[in-house]
């Protein structure tokens, strides 16, 4: 919704341009276009396309990090293999599936909380009150703080012995004994969710706020005249109207959450129980030097994320600004 109107305009003006000009000028402009795009195209191919292709290739080999030039092709063995009736490979590796589960759980819980809280914050920022500009600046601060710094700040606040959160909860009588937030696998993922919600709710709120500010005001005035309750107006009018923007925001946040690395790596100190998919893959690749296995995990992560993108695009509700020509 945010971008589709701009895209449509651009498409129309491009057609006008194409018609209204002599063909030699058009040809020279098309040549120039390719010239202008070439450097970016080369760089993107070199640093994104080629490494991705190599990662996929490595997943079919027994490469090790010590010497990346010395490897042999082993087919699908990194994924699944059978020796003497016993199965090997990442696809039957409990640690891998555990990391997949952790990542999915983290994504669903944190993005849901961010969406609900983001709507609340956006509605507040959409109301006229003194200090609104200041408030908008305030909620941007968590977003601006580097993830590593947030993770360290929260690790300190969540410290089991000297942390301010345990102290606060003890004083309020909400817990009887200090909680080992980040060391315990049950609470560590909740801790990660807490930090992620703290950091990213403002992002969600700003995207929703942009959508709210584009809504026509006369609907609300009409509702007010008819005496419809604000709660009803929100669910019947506001929510359906901001749904496209909301979906775009949810998709971008989910894609981000699915590749979570920094936060979980720092907050839960690289532990096996709380590893996300990205943490698992890097551990295989770098800590255990198993480039083959690590690449297989990376390839699976790529496929999972690509699948999520394809499903959401195929659902057809969200058009990520394709070019209507």
């Amino acid at each position: 919704m945010i971008m589709s109107s701009a895209v449509a305009q651009a498409g129309v003006s491009a057609q006008h341009q194409a018609r209204g000009r002599s063909s030699s000028l058009t040809r020279s402009r098309v040549r120039a276009a390719w010239l202008f795009i070439a450097p970016s195209l080369i760089v993107v191919t070199l640093i994104a396309g080629w490494p991705l292709a190599r990662t996929i290739w490595f997943s079919f080999t027994d490469a090790s990090l010590n010497d990346l030039s010395d490897y042999k092709f082993i087919g699908l063995e990194n994924y699944l293999a059978n020796y003497d009736g016993e199965w090997f490979g990442i696809l039957i590796e409990p640690d891998w599936w555990h990391s997949v589960w952790n990542t999915l759980w983290f994504t669903v819980v944190s993005v849901s909380l961010e969406t609900v809280l983001g709507i609340v914050v956006a509605l507040i920022l959409n109301a006229a009150f003194p200090g609104r500009g200041l408030m908008r600046a305030v909620i941007l601060i968590p977003w601006a703080i580097p993830t590593i710094v947030s993770a360290k700040m929260w690790s300190w606040m969540l410290h089991d012995q000297f942390g301010v959160i345990n102290d606060l909860l003890l004083r309020l009588g909400l817990i009887a004994a200090p909680v080992t937030w980040t060391a315990n696998a049950d609470t560590a993922l909740w801790a990660a969710v807490m930090v992620d919600v703290w950091k990213h709710t403002s992002f969600m709120a700003l995207l929703i706020l942009a959508a709210l500010q584009m809504l026509p005001q006369d609907i609300y005035e009409a509702a007010k005249v008819d005496g419809v309750s604000p709660v009803r107006v929100f669910f019947r009018v506001t929510l359906p109207l901001i749904k496209p923007a909301l979906l775009v925001a949810v998709i971008f946040r989910s894609l981000d959450a699915l590749r979570v690395f920094d936060l979980i790596y720092v907050l839960t100190s690289n532990s096996k129980d709380t590893a996300s998919m990205s943490v698992y893959a890097r551990q295989q690749l770098v800590d255990f030097q198993e480039v083959g296995l690590g690449s297989a995990a990376s390839t699976l992560i790529f496929l999972i994320i690509a699948l999520v993108v394809v499903i959401t695009l195929a659902a057809g509700r969200v058009r990520l600004g394709e070019d209507p020509r």
Binding site: I2, A6, Q9, A10, S13, A14, Q17, L25, V30, A32, A33, W34, F36, I37, S40, V43, V44, I47, A48, W50, P51, A53, R54, T55, F58, I124, R136, A137, V138, I139, L140, I141, P142, W143, A144, P146, T147, I148, V149, K152, M153, W154, W156, M157, W198, F203, L206, L207, A210, L258, R259, D262, V266, S278, R282, I301, V309, G321, E322, R325
Partner: protein, 274 residues
């Protein structure tokens, strides 16, 4: 009833502001406390001891780490903008075959999980002899910034009226002159926005910086903070970690507050990256 609603509203505003600000406030007061003072919880600033701020520079090459981060992020911004503006002109203003497909591919690249290119990028950086160097990190970080720079700049470029360049073409200007003389000045606000976003992404980048550097002197700020340790195994390094965190966060917060409107515009303009 009305009074109740107003009180509730302001209570909510206060709770949100508290939740947003408290962690950073707590990091600041912790950074002024040293030794055994850190073993007790304090809610108000009691001491103003700068020794953590000196310690963070003495115990590790933190000044060097900050310089590294500035070099890497600065270069990434310049390269992304230089490549992005020229590409965005072509994508945004010229109709040619394969344009939509290429734009969609570039958008897809901006959704790549970083870890999916890690092994291939490691090989690439090593084969260029760039392992444990700053150019290696610059190259890797471009993968994160270039796609969304092109995408956002293209969105901005499309919104400019078409008459602008037509006059220049009638006067016989070449496309390159049009980009430089006509679009570059017009794109300045958009370039500031995307440049800032690229700077923040690169300044905060952790996975590549952790994997492609080996020695303390070559690290950027995020891995330096993540790997900070105390002077002895028994000392809690939290005071110095908080001091380091405050030092590297304040410039970013200032940037964000100064350019608040531009950043919000950039985030909502199209390609959104957290």
């Amino acid at each position: 009833m009305k009074l109740l609603a107003r009180t509730g509203f302001w209570l909510l505003v206060i709770v949100i502001a508290f939740f947003a600000l408290f962690p950073f406030y707590y990091a600041i007061i912790s950074s002024f406390r040293t030794g055994s003072a850190l073993f007790s919880v304090a809610y108000w600033p009691e001491t103003f001891d700068l020794s953590n701020y000196f310690a963070v520079f003495e115990r590790q090459p933190f000044g060097r780490n900050i310089l590294n981060s500035i070099i890497v992020s600065g270069s990434v911004v310049v390269l992304s903008l230089a490549l992005g503006i020229t590409a965005a002109y072509a994508f945004g203003r010229i109709a040619f075959r394969g344009r939509s497909l290429m734009l969609m591919t570039i958008l897809a690249v901006s959704m790549f999980p970083q870890v999916a290119v890690l092994a291939g990028m490691f090989e690439l950086i090593r084969s260029f002899g760039l392992y444990n160097t700053l150019p290696g990190l610059i190259l890797a970080n471009l993968m994160l910034t270039l796609p969304f720079t092109i995408w956002v700049l293209t969105t901005f470029m499309r919104e400019l009226p078409k008459e602008i360049e037509e006059a220049a073409f009638v006067d016989g200007a070449t496309p390159w002159i049009v980009v430089r003389r006509v679009f570059l000045p017009l794109m300045a606000p958009a370039a500031v926005t995307t440049g800032l976003l690229a700077f923040i992404v690169s300044w905060n980048e952790f996975l590549f910086a952790l994997t492609f550097t080996l020695t303390n002197e070559r690290r950027t700020v995020p891995p330096a903070i993540a790997l900070m340790s105390g002077s002895t195994a028994y000392e809690l390094p939290w005071g110095t970690i908080m001091a380091g965190s405050v030092i590297v966060t304040i410039p970013i917060i200032v940037l964000v507050l100064v350019f608040q409107r531009k950043i919000v515009a950039g985030l909502t303009a199209g390609a959104v990256k957290g």
